[in-house]
Structure formats: structure tokens, C-alpha cells
Point group: D2
Chain length 326, copies 4
């Protein structure tokens, strides 16, 4: 059993707490949160202790730290934990500032840090990747990533989110890097505020399209909207030299109703807690593997920096109306 400390008892922290607590090889030993009541409640639920960050870092019995606190603390807490010899499971993004993220390289480059890009662990996207890797449809040439949230977040969230590209599309930039097999070298992005004018007043967009291009000419389109109007739309199409592979959305049931006007099928799973429940579990399993076998993280610090670099480039392209070359 590896003893784990969780930093951050918010929505995503509670998911990771549950998955760690239920994992046979992990023990959720400590919960850290500035809000005492949150820490207490979550720790109580799983039989963990409430501790301070300092205690956790100093405790040699803590083998792994899950960093699920606010974004501006990800880098600092991860570095502290890595420096103390612990394995780290760090929520995305690595940071909102590319330069700052890069400056952590001496500590975090190659470290035992799992950057929690949950979609890499989604069974649908993994099955898509496996099909590409099997080679039966040849070499990848282009990619279409659709990623629309069901409903826009409140303006208060948008204000501190870092903007659509760093907050939301960052997942898609990671998917693009994972699947394209080459790093993008050109980014063009454009966006609009069509959903909520308040988002526009905050200097952000709610609808965007980003076009990536790799050195050999592979193309990737990322389509984002803060509001789909029809649930959480998470799809990928990968076009290769001898065919195409796609991963579709997940529905709440397989039920269909046929009437005179046609047929209707059940709604899409509404949001990430449902859609990616399995991914969150698989992510924690991978973290347990890192602890048990010394396996390298499937996605780490360098991936977090690379996705952030694409997000910054997209924001710069949209602001300038010009292609950004990396």
C-alpha cells in the first residue's frame, strides 16, 4: 500500500480522493485544503487525516501527492513534492504562464510527475489511438477534434480561467500532440463571442477554431464552444492514408424511440464527471503503477509545457489575426 496525500478538496479533488481510496494498492492518508471544512469532510469520508502541506511534504511515509489545488499552485506544490522525493499526480494545466512553466524544467523535466490530461485515459480515445498504432489504416494525415461544453461557465470562472485556449482547448492541444505523431509548427486560431456577451467583455471568446500544422504538413482542426446546447460533445476523427478512425460521444443509454416523425436516441452524457469517470479511474491506476513499478508517467511535465505553448500561440494568433510559427 502506498500512502497518498491529496492537496485540494474541490470538485476534481473529490474525484481523485475516491479513486485513490478505492484503489487496492493506494491508501488515501491525508487531505490538505485551506478551507478546513472541505478538508475535514473529504478526509472523514475516506478515513484520511487532515494535514498541512508542510506536514505532507515532510512526511517520508507519504509516497505520492495528488495536486488538485488552484491552478496557480500546481507548479509550486509539484516542485516541492518532487524535491521531497514523492511521485506527483498534477491536475492540468501545469500553469497558466508558459515562461514560468518552462522555468521549472530543472526540477520537473523527467520527474515522476503525471500530468492529469484525463482524455489520454478515456477508453474511447485509447481505442482510437490503438487503431492508429496498429497501422491498419496507414499513416495519419489529419485530425478533427471537436470539444464543446454543454453550457458556459459563470463569468467569475472565465475571469480567472486563463482564457478558452489555456483553460479548455489545452486538452485538445494535448490530444493533437498525442495523435499527430509530430509537433505542430504553425498555429492559426480565430474565435467569436456568440454565446454570452459577458465572456466577450472579459476579453475572452466562447467559440473558437484552431488550425495546427506539423512540419510534414499534417493538419489538425480543433473546434471549441463553451455551449453546445446538446450535452458534452467530445469527438475525434483521425484521417490516415488508408482510412479513417473516429471516436463518438457516449450516450446515457442505448434506448431509441421510433414514431411517425422519425426516431430519437438518448442524450449525450452531460459533462466530464460522467463522460470521463472511467478515465479518472484509469489515470489513478496509472499513478499506482508509477509507484509500484517505477513506470514512467504516460504524460508528464514536458507534455504540459508543450500543450501550454500551443495554447499561448493560439491566443496570440487570435489576437493578432496572423499565423504563429513555432
Amino acid at each position: 500500500m502506498f500512502r497518498i496525500a491529496l492537496i485540494g478538496a474541490g470538485r476534481i479533488g473529490r474525484i481523485h480522493a475516491r479513486n485513490a481510496a478505492l484503489h487496492p494498492a493506494l491508501e488515501l492518508a491525508a487531505v490538505v485544503d485551506p478551507v478546513e471544512a472541505s478538508a475535514q469532510a473529504l478526509a472523514g469520508e475516506w478515513g484520511a487525516a487532515v494535514r498541512t502541506l508542510e506536514e505532507v511534504i515532510a512526511d517520508p511515509g507519504i509516497a505520492g501527492v495528488v495536486v488538485a489545488s488552484s491552478t496557480d499552485t500546481h507548479l509550486d506544490y509539484s516542485m516541492q513534492a518532487i524535491a521531497a522525493g514523492k511521485a506527483v499526480f498534477c491536475e492540468k494545466p501545469i500553469d497558466q504562464d508558459l515562461q514560468r512553466a518552462r522555468s521549472a524544467a530543472p526540477t520537473l523535466e523527467g520527474a515522476r510527475l503525471l500530468l492529469a490530461f484525463n482524455r489520454r485515459f478515456d477508453p474511447n480515445f485509447r481505442a482510437l489511438k490503438a487503431k492508429l498504432d496498429e497501422g491498419g489504416i496507414g499513416t495519419i494525415e489529419s485530425l478533427q477534434i471537436t470539444s464543446n461544453d454543454p453550457a458556459p461557465p459563470p463569468p467569475s470562472y472565465v475571469a480567472v480561467s486563463g482564457g478558452l485556449f489555456k483553460d479548455m482547448a489545452i486538452h485538445d492541444f494535448d490530444m493533437a500532440r498525442w495523435l499527430l505523431g509530430e509537433e505542430p509548427v504553425e498555429v492559426y486560431a480565430t474565435g467569436s463571442c456568440l454565446v454570452d456577451p459577458e465572456i466577450g467583455r472579459l476579453g475572452d471568446v466562447d467559440t473558437a477554431r484552431t488550425l495546427l500544422r506539423t512540419a510534414s504538413g499534417r493538419l489538425c482542426v480543433i473546434a471549441n464552444s463553451r455551449r453546445s446546447g446538446y450535452g458534452y460533445d467530445q469527438r475525434i476523427e483521425a484521417y490516415a492514408s488508408a482510412g479513417m478512425v473516429c471516436a463518438d460521444n457516449v450516450r446515457e443509454s442505448t434506448v431509441q424511440v421510433f414514431t411517425e416523425g422519425g426516431s430519437s436516441a438518448d442524450r449525450l452524457q452531460n459533462f466530464f464527471l460522467d463522460r470521463y469517470a472511467q478515465a479518472y479511474r484509469a489515470e489513478m491506476e496509472h499513478f499506482a503503477d508509477m509507484l509500484a513499478t517505477g513506470a514512467a508517467p504516460a504524460v508528464g511535465y514536458a507534455d504540459g509545457v508543450a500543450a501550454l505553448a500551443l495554447a499561448e500561440a493560439a491566443a496570440r494568433s487570435m489576437a493578432s489575426g496572423e499565423v504563429v510559427r513555432l
Copy 2:
């Protein structure tokens, strides 16, 4: 060019007239119908002459006859035409009376008579049959045939239809024989009047299930309803030793709408004139082949009799509540 005469200018006759007239190797030369106006209208549309049955039979320039008149005349007109050396395209059923149909064997057994079971020419069911014949999924073991009309016919039609089994399920009995690879030896049928009580008063049912069993134990379920409430439901599932192949319904378009409540897809093609338009064309092409190359009919008199025998057995089973062994 083979000159063709059409007997019967009703709904189905007009379909065959068009397909014959547009076929490059056929010429619609004559139309016969007791209702002068109907014959005139249809003949005029395609540049054919209005003729009597006797004239058509006696005319050595008529190579083929399409029998699309009322069911009670199918057998007689087919025999006259065959006796006169013509190829015959005869609408289903061959007759409503099994004994009478069998008594025509001396003339019609092995004759150049195409019995117009249109579903044998449907591209979907042909593709299903081809998959079975390719052998990739092994040997057929059982069959599920679903065949529901969109809305019940008027009582006046039901009264002279010969009953659900001979009028409607006869197509499904033919499909079963075509696909099972063995003749059914046991029939059990049951039915209800759930749609229109008037149908019940006429001694018929509007909802039925028939269970066929072959000598080696292959099983087939036929599900029929006179009213689906959601369009023309025409599906087949064939279960084999190493897999399953199914043919689904055809929709009016590929459009889907996604909203908060789920997604909706377009309605099913509503009835046989739409769903089987291609099948009717392919059927006429096969008739042209019979004329041009001497090809044997893909489905003939013996098939018509065999399907009728199953329909009679089903009716008898339902009436008696007992299994009928053939």
C-alpha cells in the same frame, strides 16, 4: 427490344409499366385493364396501345406479359400466357387457394414465370443474402423477420385480402425459405386484433407471430403488424454459427438533430413504393434478362406455391391453436 404487355393498370401495375417502359431492352407495347379509363391513361403516358387480353395472348409479337391484375386472375392469366409461349412476370401471391395453385403445376412447374416477390431484389436483403452465402459467418441457424406496415388497410381491402398470412406475411414466408436453406417442416402461429376491431370482425388479425422450424432444427420468427405507428418496418436478422448479419430499415435522409433531450433521426421511408423502388426496377431487369438470355426465373411458380403452403399452415395453426406439421 422485347415487346411487353401489362395486365392491370392499378397501383402496382403503374410501377411495372414505368420500369418496363424505361428499360432499354423492353418496350411497353400494350396495356390491358377492364377499366377503360385506367388502361387509356397508363397506355397514353408511355406510348403503349390499349388491348384486350385475348389480343395480347394471340399476338406473337408480345414476348412477355406482366400480370398485375386482381389476385384471383393471377393463375389463369399466367397459364394462358405461358401456354401461348410468353414469359410471365406475375405479381404475388400466385393465388389465394393452395389447392388451386397446386393444380396449375402441369402448366406452370418450371415455366418461364417470374413470381414477383420484390424483396428478393431489394439491395439490402440481397446484400444480407450475399454475406450469408460468402460463408464468413458460418451456417445459418435462425432468422428474425420483422415486417410491419405503417398503417392498416381499409376493411374493404382486408375482406378480400385472404387474411394477414396470405396477403402480407407471404413475403416473409418467401424470405424465410430463401434464407433458411431448408424447408420449414413445422409452423406455429398466433395472432391478435389489437389495431382495428373491424379487422377482427372480418375474422382476421392485425398482429401476428409465426414460428417456423426446419428438419435440422433451424428456427425462424416472423413478426407482423398491420400498423407500426412509425413507418414501414422491414428488417431481417440472420443468426449463424460464427456471427450475425442484419439488414436495417431505410430512412428518408441521413439527417440527425442533437438537442438537450437527445438526438433525433429522420423517419423511415413510409411504404413499399418508396422502400422497394429499386427492388421493382431490379425485378424488371431480371425479367428482361429472362427474355434476352433465357435465364431461369430467380423465383418462380414453385416458390409461390411453397410460400402459400406456409401461409395456409400458419392460418390453420392460429385457428386451431396447434402446431402444424408439413
Copy 3:
């Protein structure tokens, strides 16, 4: 927290153990199994004690008993536990012998016994039922239940299974009763041995079709095979007066591959442990509700007897070749 004892540490017992142990309102306190090692292993995994049946029944601190032992013990253990004032979660079938099952009525009729027909808790079938209950597609008229296992069980299992109808179709008889809204009054069944001749030598069939009919004429077809060749096929179609509702299979992922020859989609979830994982959890949640709120079991002793009566009737129909009237 309600303390629970599990009787039977086999495959299905382990599922229930896990779901009970992880439920916030339940505590898996005891495991009973004649095979000491099995009991020990499972109890150890979840921090439960190994106990004897007698101890468990006598312990007033045990609020509920999960009966997952061999079929011939279901009735006896359930009666003991009910008599001792405990709530019971009993695996299906209630028994293999209808008369014996009926004789337990004085103790079990109306008792706090949840009969574990897992499909009633499957989200897909529940969504189908909800659509029927909403009334948007009118009154149910007929039902098609398809239930095929991926591969046949070993002959040793078949020998003690009670036969296809009691072992496998029993689930489908329960589904039929649940959805038809009326009790079946006629049963016709036929079956074949097409998959494994050994099954035939044991006097059983591996392929069957059952036709149920209610007093008002509603019809239900149940299609069963011990081997689909394409995974665990679990579908239902319900035909109503103004439309149709169906629940389709669940696949391992939403991935599709398009190539020159067409497209391919992922395999069906292979067997019940995967397909019904959510159902097993929901079932245990319902049991917790029974304990916490005194809720009546959603499916109980009387349902187990009724499904068994249909299974016996189907077996009798197949043996005699005649319709059985109930």
C-alpha cells in the same frame, strides 16, 4: 451502516461483496462459504469476518443477507434469514422446482426479499421501461426480447443448470412480465441443439424461441441462444400503439474505423459481468434502500415464482410440441 452477510463466495458473490463493501450505507460484515479458502480470500479483501451460516442467522447485528450460494440452497437460506427478521437479497432463480418454490409462500410471500433479476436495474432497460410508462408511444402491444450468450457453458454446468428455460430464459420471462403489463396466459416454445451436441445429449437445447400471449392478446417473442458468436447480445424491442422503443447492446468503445470495404465498430461488451456491472451496483443500492427506508423490494418472491412458472411451461411446451395454457 447496515451490517451485511454474504452467503456464497463464488463469481457472483464476489460482485455483490464488492458492491456491498463500497456502498456508503452498508458494511460487509461476514462471508459464509463451505470452501474455507474462498470465504477467507473474499472476507480478507473487504475486511469482513468468516462466519458460519448459523452464526450469521443468529446474529441480531446482521441486518441483511445476500444469498449467492448454489441454486438449491436459495429457498432454504432465504427462509431462514427472513424468519430471523433479516432482509434478503437472493440470487435468481428462486428455485429450480416450481412446486417447492410455491410451498415457500407462507414464509416468503410479501417478505423483504429482493430477487436479484439484475436486468430490472440495467440503465438501458430502465430507460426503455420509462419511455413506455411515460405513455408517449401509447399502449404496449408486443415485445421482442433477444438474449444470447457469447459462448456455451461447459456441459458440467448445463447438467445441473435446470435447462435453458430455467437457467437462462428466466431473466427474459421476468423482463416480459415487467414490460407487458399483463400476465402471459399461453406459452409455446421450441428449441434445437445447433451449437454443442453434448448439450443435446444432456437433454437440453442451446437455441430456443418462446412465444407468450396475454389475455388481451399482447404477444412476446423470446429468442435465446447459448452462443452468439459475437458477444453478449441483450436487446429488447417494445411495440406500442403509437411507436416502438428499443434498447440496444452496449459496445466496448464508440470507435469506428472506415476503410474501402465499409466501416467497423467495436465489439459488444462480452458478458454479464461487464454489461450488467451498473445493474449490479444499482441492485445493491436498492437493497440498501430497503434496509434504510423500509422500501418494498422492486422485484420479489412472487416475481421469482411467476418467472419460474413460465420457464416450466416453456419446457413443457417444447417437450410436448403443444401450447401450454396457464
Copy 4:
């Protein structure tokens, strides 16, 4: 009956000849083609006369002219026919040169010229447009158009095609204008040569992505490839404020095969002659309506010029690597 002359007896000319000949209100009276044998063969097939262009233009009995000759003649022949008072059915594109196309405005602006953008007549895309127009899913915000050919054309075709944007994407630019409800004001395009290096040597690309933006911020992505590897991929997704509507591909049959590895569905209809057969018929029907009722063309000269302007802008954007503002 309106007498029609066809100019150009090539592949697409033969399609239009057939549809005109079979239309009840049209008579295919004349065929014009510099290759005598082609003209003769096609005229013979439908009972038309072989004529010269001059004869056709001068003949007051010719009510309509179908221009299906080489692209460089579209503008000239259309102007001659319009000047002679005839209705014109002109194949796309209106021309390969935007300035030249614009210079025809005095003659062609508002003329009875149907520009044959066949996709406007496809039942799937019409159903999609109808859903948008009904307003049930709110206001359109963005569009995803996927348009991939099954296999690349020979280099000889590419050399005179005018390039991917004017030859192939021109259809998609028309779809974008038709569906977006606003004119694009910004174009960004990028492309690669990933399929056939010979296409690259000719200065063209075989894979491209174009991003359009309207004044109010609506976004449209057009994805094109000269080779899909899986048939003719023609799909549209329209995202609106309260939902999404999409039109999917058309398959050769509805057959699906289920085996251990998953299920497979039939291939996509392979190319435009199959996929758009209905669209070509509907287009000719609309032309007949223009003749019979004086209906304005659903898509005309101005649409042809506007689509060409977008194609030129896309080509310029790709060449310069910069956004083009219109």
C-alpha cells in the same frame, strides 16, 4: 414540353441528358459536342439530333440550354444562350477566373441561369437546411463541412483543374454561403501534399483546411482531401444556439455483420454519380420549373461568382500564409 439542347456529351453531360430525356416536361432535342462520335452516341440513345452550337443558339424552338462543356466555355456559352433568350443550366464552376466571371455581370446578373451546384439539391443537405430554417435549434453559429473524394484524379486532370479550391472546394464554399446566412469576410486556408507528390509538382495540394468567418463572427471549417481511402465522404454539421444538425454519408446498403471482433457496416456510396444521383434529378426538375413557371433559379450567376471569390481568396491565403479579408 420544353425542348432542350445539351452542350457537352461527357460524363456529366450524359447524366443531364438522361434526366432531361426522362423528365415529363422536357424533351432532349439536341446534343452539341466537338467530338462527333460522342454527340452521335448520346443523341442516338435519347432520340435527339446532333447540332452545332450556332444552330442551337439560333433555333427559337430551343427553350433551354444545358452547358456541360469544358469549364473555359461555361461563361461564353451561357452568355450566348441568355442573349438568345434561353434559360441556361450551367455546370459549375461559372469560370476559373474571378475577374472574367465578374465581367459577365451585365449579361448574367439576374438572368435565368441555374448554376448547377448539385449539393443544394441533395435530399440530405436539403433536410439539414430545412431543420435550420425551421428554427427549432436556434441561430446558426458555426459549420463543419467535410468533403473528401475517394481517390485522387490523374495529374492531367489536376493540371487544368484550377486547383483544389476552385475545382473541388468550390462546392463547399457554396454550401457555406447557403447555410451560414451571412457572407464570409475572412478566409484562412492551408494545405499539404500528402497523397500524391505529382499533385505537389503541379503546384497544387491534395489536403486542405479552410476557415471562413462572417462579419458577426460565425465560423466555418471546410475539410478537403483528394483521397479518403474509404469512399466519398460528404458530411455537414451545423452548430446553432440550441442544438446541432448534421447530415451523414450514404451507404450502399443497410447491412451490418456482427462477429467476435465487432460489427461492420457497408461501404459509403463511392462517388458523386451515385451519391448525388437524386440531386441531379432534382436539379433538372428545378430547371423544368424555371421553364414552366418562370421560377427564379435557386442558385444563379451571383452565387457562382461569390463561391469563386472565396476559392480565389483561399488560394491566395494558402500561398501567402496570411488571412485574406474580403
